[in-house]
C-alpha cells in the first residue's frame, strides 16, 4: 500500500509540474496563433515547393501566417463545405463554380496557370509523341491498350483527365486503365513502377525525383491549360472563419507582389506557375490583360524545352 501511495504522489507531482508548463505553452501559442489562416490547397502546389517560396514574403508583409493543408481538390472542397478552411487555392473551374452556386464560396479569382502534361515510358509504345492533340494522344493510349495510371481520386487533375477521355469519346476501362485512388506523388511512383502512362501537372512532374524510365511525352495543347484559382468562403455560411485575414491573402495573391512571387518561383531554373491575376467578381481589379491565359500558355511553351 505504501508503494502504491508513493506512486500516486509521484504521478500527481508530475501532473502539477507539467500542467502550468503546458498552460504557458498554450498561451504562448495563442498569442502567435491569432494571426494565421488555414488554406486548403492541392498536393501539386505543396509538393512543388511553391508555398515555401510565396508564403514567407506574404507573412513578412502582413504578419499573417498561412497553414497549408494539401489535399486533392475534391477533398479541399469537402473541407471548405464543412467550414474547416479559411481560404482555398484549387484547380477545378467546374467544381469552383459549384461551390459558389451552393453559397459556400463568395469570391473567386484566377491567380496563376500551369499546364498538364502526359508522361509515359520513354520508349512510348502507344506512339503519343506523334499525336497532334491531347485528345489524339489519349485515343492512341486507349487503342494500344497501354497501361495508364489514373489518379482515380476525384482531384482536380483527375477531373481534367476525365474531361479529356470524354472529349475523346472514350470510356476508359479494362486491365490497361488503372484507377489508383491516390495522390499525384503516389500515382507517379506507381506509374514509374508499372511503366504506365500518366496524366499530371508540370509542377508535380518537375518536383518528382523517382522517374525511373518515365519521360515527358506530350505537352503544349491548349486544352491542357491548368488554371489555379483562389476562393474566399461565404461570411454568411461560415461566420466563424477568419474572413478578414483570408481576404488579405486573396488580395495579396492578386497584387503585384504576389504575382511576382509566383513568377519568380523556379525549380531547376524552370518556372512552374505563371501569374494570371483575374478576378471573377470585379473586372476593375484586373491588373493584367484578359488574354493572359493564352499568353501564359505561350510562355509555358517558350520556357520549356
Amino acid at each position: 500500500m505504501f508503494r502504491y501511495r508513493r506512486m500516486v504522489s509521484t504521478l500527481l507531482l508530475a501532473c502539477f509540474l507539467a500542467a502550468p508548463q503546458a498552460a504557458a505553452r498554450e498561451q504562448h501559442k495563442e498569442r502567435h496563433a491569432a494571426r494565421y489562416i488555414v488554406l486548403a490547397s492541392t498536393t501539386s502546389t505543396e509538393n512543388s515547393g511553391l508555398f515555401r517560396a510565396i508564403i514567407p514574403p506574404f507573412t513578412e508583409a502582413t504578419g499573417i501566417s498561412v497553414r497549408v493543408v494539401a489535399v486533392g481538390t475534391g477533398q479541399a472542397f469537402a473541407i471548405a463545405r464543412r467550414g474547416d478552411a479559411d481560404a482555398l487555392l484549387v484547380h477545378d473551374p467546374a467544381g469552383e463554380a459549384q461551390l459558389i452556386t451552393e453559397g459556400h464560396a463568395s469570391q473567386r479569382a484566377e491567380i496563376m496557370v500551369n499546364d498538364f502534361v502526359i508522361i509515359g515510358p520513354a520508349e512510348d509504345p502507344a506512339r503519343i509523341t506523334a499525336a497532334e492533340t491531347a485528345i489524339e494522344a489519349f485515343a492512341a493510349i486507349a487503342a494500344a491498350e497501354s497501361p495508364f495510371a489514373s489518379r482515380g481520386d476525384d482531384s482536380g487533375t483527375h477531373r481534367a483527365e476525365r474531361q479529356l477521355w470524354r472529349a475523346a469519346g472514350i470510356a476508359p476501362q479494362g486491365r490497361w486503365y488503372r484507377a489508383l485512388g491516390s495522390g499525384m506523388g503516389p500515382t507517379l511512383n506507381t506509374a514509374a513502377a508499372m511503366d504506365a502512362y500518366v496524366f499530371t501537372d508540370r509542377a508535380s512532374w518537375a518536383a518528382f525525383d523517382n522517374r525511373q524510365d518515365l519521360a515527358l511525352l506530350f505537352e503544349g495543347d491548349e486544352v491542357l491549360l491548368n488554371q489555379y484559382a483562389s476562393l474566399l468562403l461565404s461570411t454568411e455560411r461560415h461566420p466563424h472563419l477568419k474572413h478578414e485575414l483570408a481576404s488579405e491573402w486573396h488580395r495579396w495573391l492578386l497584387s503585384e507582389e504576389g504575382q511576382q512571387a509566383i513568377a519568380e518561383f523556379q525549380v531547376d531554373g524552370q518556372p512552374l506557375f505563371f501569374p494570371s491575376a483575374r478576378s471573377d467578381s470585379d473586372d476593375a481589379l484586373t491588373p493584367t490583360d484578359p488574354n493572359l491565359s493564352a499568353i501564359s500558355l505561350h510562355l509555358i511553351r517558350k520556357f520549356t524545352p
Binding site: R3, Y4, V38, F51, R82, G83, G185, N189, N210, H240
Partner: protein
C-alpha cells in the same frame, strides 16, 4: 539497391546535421505520441482493471468491443475525430481541427483499447490468484485495484510500450486530423508519406530509420528502468 544505401546516408546526415526542421518534427512526434499514451494509460489502466474486477451485465460485450477496437484502422479513428472536431461537427466550436491537440485525441483513441484490453488480461490473472487472500483480509475491490495494477507493473510497462508503438507508427489518423501542416502538425510518419509522394525515396527511408531509432530509444529507456526496478526488488 542504391535507394537503400542512400537512405542510410540520408539518415546519417539528418541526425548529424541536427536539421532544425527535423528536430521540430521529431519533438512534435514524441510530444503527440507520448501525450496520447499518457491519456490512454490514465483511462485505460483503471478501465481495464475495473473490467477484470467487477461483474456486470453486458461485460462480455464491452470486453469484445474493446478487443475489436484494438484493430481499429487509424484512418477510421482519424475520420471519426475529424467529423467530431470539424466546424460542422458537434465539437467544432473548440476550433481544434488541424492542431496537435486533435492529433493527440485521435491517437488516444487508437491507444486506449490496446492498453485497456491488455490491462484487463493481466489484472484478471492476478485477481484469480489473489482473490481469496484479499477477500480474507477484507480488502474491497476498489482497494485491491491499485495494488493489483502495481503488482502487474512490469507487464503493464510492456502494454504501455505497445500502445506507444501503435501511436508513433500510425499515419492515417494524424494525416486527417492534423493536415500535415509544415511546422505545425507535421510529424515523422506524415513527413515520410510526403517525401514518398514526392519521389524522394531515400530521404523518406532515411526519416523512417530515424523514427525507428527513436522508438528503439524510448523502448530501451523503458527496458533499463524496468530492469533496474526489477533488480532492486530482488
Amino acid at each position: 539497391m542504391p535507394d537503400t544505401d542512400n537512405a542510410f546516408q540520408a539518415a546519417l546526415s539528418l541526425i548529424l546535421g541536427l536539421d532544425p526542421t527535423l528536430l521540430g518534427i521529431v519533438t512534435l512526434s514524441l510530444q503527440v505520441s507520448l501525450a496520447a499514451v499518457l491519456v490512454g494509460a490514465l483511462i485505460g489502466l483503471p478501465l481495464g482493471a475495473a473490467l477484470a474486477l467487477w461483474q456486470f451485465p453486458g461485460r462480455g460485450l464491452v470486453v469484445t468491443l474493446l478487443n475489436a477496437f484494438m484493430g481499429l484502422p487509424p484512418v477510421v479513428a482519424g475520420l471519426l475525430v475529424y467529423l467530431m472536431l470539424s466546424r460542422a461537427g458537434p465539437l467544432g466550436g473548440l476550433g481544434l481541427l488541424f492542431t496537435p491537440t486533435a492529433m493527440v485525441i485521435a491517437q488516444s483513441l487508437l491507444v486506449l483499447p490496446i492498453i485497456a484490453a491488455l490491462t484487463r488480461d493481466h489484472v484478471l490473472t492476478l485477481w484469480d490468484e489473489y482473490r481469496e487472500q484479499l477477500h480474507s483480509f477484507g480488502v474491497t475491490r476498489l482497494r485491491a485495484m491499485p495494488s493489483l495494477l502495481w503488482d502487474a507493473r512490469f507487464a503493464l510497462m510492456t502494454v504501455i510500450l505497445a500502445g506507444f508503438g501503435r501511436a508513433s507508427a500510425e499515419v492515417g489518423a494524424v494525416l486527417i486530423v492534423g493536415g500535415n501542416i509544415d511546422g505545425v502538425t507535421r510529424v515523422m510518419t506524415t513527413a515520410i508519406a510526403l517525401e514518398t509522394s514526392k519521389g524522394n525515396l531515400a530521404l523518406a527511408l532515411g526519416l523512417g530509420l530515424v523514427l525507428l531509432g527513436l522508438v528503439a530509444l524510448v523502448n530501451g529507456t523503458a527496458y533499463l528502468v524496468g530492469e533496474r526496478a526489477r533488480r532492486k526488488l530482488g
